[in-house]
Symmetry: C2
Subunit: 414 residues, 2 copies
């Protein structure tokens, strides 16, 4: 069973929004044992939409469509669907009541454009939208299915999770597919590839290995196709374990674990708490840590100290240290990390100070120079990096490497 | 001149990475006056790649391809390009030397997979990669162009900016196209649409208005096609000004300005500094502010206070306040915002405390309850929101609304 994803919207083609829907849908579709053959993004234009529908229904069994269902004039997907499936719009009186109630509960009057959201094609199954005004639509034709959903991510996700996912499960019996991910941090893909070359070469042809690098991290994905899922798992898991054995010091965990979650696990196991003292990362490390639900169990707080004055006042960094060595120095980050342990009731502290760019670099300390330190009551370990990317990526890399430094510190690897 | 963008990689179809390349490329292509007709994502499979090339070259003049050029075995784009353009790989000895030097400068030996990166198709123009080992390739056929670039975003961007963009500019004379964006914050798209309905209805058919909502914000885009760019601008700018007049209290600026940049401008104009006291947002507001280069001119620092203890110690929130009203209350955020002005040398303070979820909600204060306050030395304004999204979106919305509260506070709108 092959799936095609179509995202509709001029805003996608003009690059004003990044399409996150199709990646999320792909993951969901995979968990159903279905495979995404192709993704397309097309404009809010009838001819382009119709051509995309034809193409997708031509070579796939399931077509997932997002976007173009808003109440404004640029959204033409619903009318195009009517023409395509040779039907017309009918008023759903119950839905109009719901919409009126929804607006009333928000203290607003419903307007004409929003009333139109209660008009839906006659020959589709309507998928209720619990989060907004654009309903989902499930069309069937020659044993194939086309599902139109709103483009607003949280509306689409809510609708897919309940009920579309279950409806798809019931309508399509999936073939075997199994994925196992190995999450690593701190080593490039080609070096990992060399370390496990013999394992990769010995893979049977129905098991594929892919390297998926992102800033500072590499995800190794083993995928098996075409056999019973349990059989595939029983073959893939021992291969994954063999790979992990080779690269144990950079291994974080299987599948969807993040470095932040892994650190949270380590801290909870030790019953310890942590905090951060951030300069160039400007709160990114705190944001990463607190993105994890339940992080309050091991996270007390952080300070972001952009100026000398605040570094001295909150973290007790010595004025002489800043004058003599500068804010971006081993001495300053070490004092920041140690100072944090006095400032906050934590056992572990991370400190980062660097030049994220684009300005602020000098010959001695070019843009991308970043010092970081990790402390507990007994010791402090510091490390310098020279990143070469733009501001956002330098901040992101500093965040990942600082969290990794704490990981290595806690595991006794540094 | 129509452009097609093809992103190649199993990781896109399995949803393990979000494709940000195509949105970035679309924006760049637009600035050249070229229009993206379609985007496609296909697997690392020869047949799928060839079919995508055929399709794209069939209806577009320029095809931009990213991905599938890494040194590992799953990357087959280069060999597929060779077959497609009926050529073969040749060794670029100078490139091999550069690659060896690149690895040596990083204290590493080059491996066999990376040496293969110096083998390139004979009949393409090679586009140097300053940031990695995968070179770009420029192919021409029947007056059309296909450009293959690496999938790693910063490598691709660097290569596109220099020299691909200039090469495209020289090779293709663009037709007229002009966009003007109106950035708004704090009002939904359908309400904006109602306020400007008559202006929208009076647009000529070669000027389109699109509503591009994202969390808490709506971007209105006026696009003109098919005339001289300057003529289009002279027609579109007065329309934009008319729209802005109608919605002046939610207007941030034109085109690419963000709320963070706008706030930075306001603060610099007043010669004032700001800081944040964050609980549920966990550093997100600080991260947003410091994402702007040069933010150190108006940003001193922030504290992230996840526990009662740290709220009391760093911000001087009274123990009784926390016990009586809880951390998520008007009283606590007001004390946090005022306390921040004593803790940091700033004129304006933002404080946020809420329940981001998924856990931690009560009947009285459900998940999504967020209190925020803004203070200067004279006054404090607080506001409560009830967000209904997931943890990440609740944090993001809190961040946007807190920054907007400061904007309204500084402009005297609250």
């Amino acid at each position: 069973m092959q799936v095609s994803i179509i995202t509709i919207g001029d805003e996608l083609l003009i690059g004003q929004i990044v399409d996150t829907n199709s990646a999320w849908l792909s993951q969901e579709v995979n968990t159903l044992g279905l495979r995404v053959k192709e993704k397309m993004s097309v404009a809010d234009e009838e001819a382009a939409i119709v051509e995309a529908f034809d193409r997708a229904l031509g070579h796939c069994d399931i077509v997932l469509v997002t976007g173009g269902l808003g109440p404004t004039k640029d959204d033409i997907t619903k009318n195009t669907l009517c023409k395509y499936f040779d039907t017309h719009l009918v008023l759903h009186a119950d839905l109009l009541e719901q919409l009126e109630a929804y607006f009333k509960s928000r203290g607003r009057e419903i307007n004409e454009a929003n009333k139109m959201q209660a008009m839906l094609p006659e020959n589709c199954k309507v998928i209720p939208n619990q989060r907004g005004t654009a309903q989902g639509m499930w069309f069937e034709k020659n044993g194939k299915v086309l599902i139109s959903m709103p483009g607003v991510p949280h509306e689409m996700k809510s609708m897919f999770e309940q009920p579309i996912k279950q409806m798809l499960k019931e309508a399509f019996t999936p073939p075997g597919i199994f994925h196992r991910n190995i999450i690593t941090i701190g080593m490039g893909e080609s070096y990992i590839a060399e370390k496990i070359e013999d394992i990769e070469d010995a893979l049977p042809d129905y098991i594929k290995l892919a390297y998926l690098p992102s800033l500072g991290k590499v995800r190794l994905r083993l995928s098996g196709y075409g056999k019973d899922e349990k059989v595939l798992q029983s073959e893939i898991d021992p291969i994954a374990a063999k790979i992990v054995e080779r690269i144990s010091n950079i291994f974080i965990g299987y599948d969807d674990i993040t470095l932040e979650e892994y650190l949270g696990k380590l801290l909870k196991e030790k019953g310890a708490k942590m905090g951060t003292a951030e300069s160039c990362t400007g709160g990114s490390i705190a944001t990463a840590i607190t993105s994890i639900p339940g992080s309050s169990a091991y996270y007390e707080g952080s300070v972001v100290t952009y100026s000398y004055e605040v570094k001295e006042a909150l973290l007790g960094v010595k004025h002489e240290t800043l004058l003599k060595f500068g804010a971006v120095s081993e001495e300053t980050v070490s004092e920041m990390a140690k100072g944090l342990l006095s400032c906050l009731p934590v056992e572990y502290g991370i400190a980062v100070s660097g030049i994220a760019g684009p300005g602020g670099g000098t010959e001695e300390k070019p843009v991308g120079t970043v010092w970081m330190a990790v402390s507990d009551k007994d010791r402090t370990v510091s490390k310098k990096y020279n990143f070469t990317k733009n501001r956002a990526d330098n901040i992101q890399l500093s965040t990942v490497y600082a969290l990794n430094l704490l990981r290595m510190f806690m595991l006794g690897l540094v």
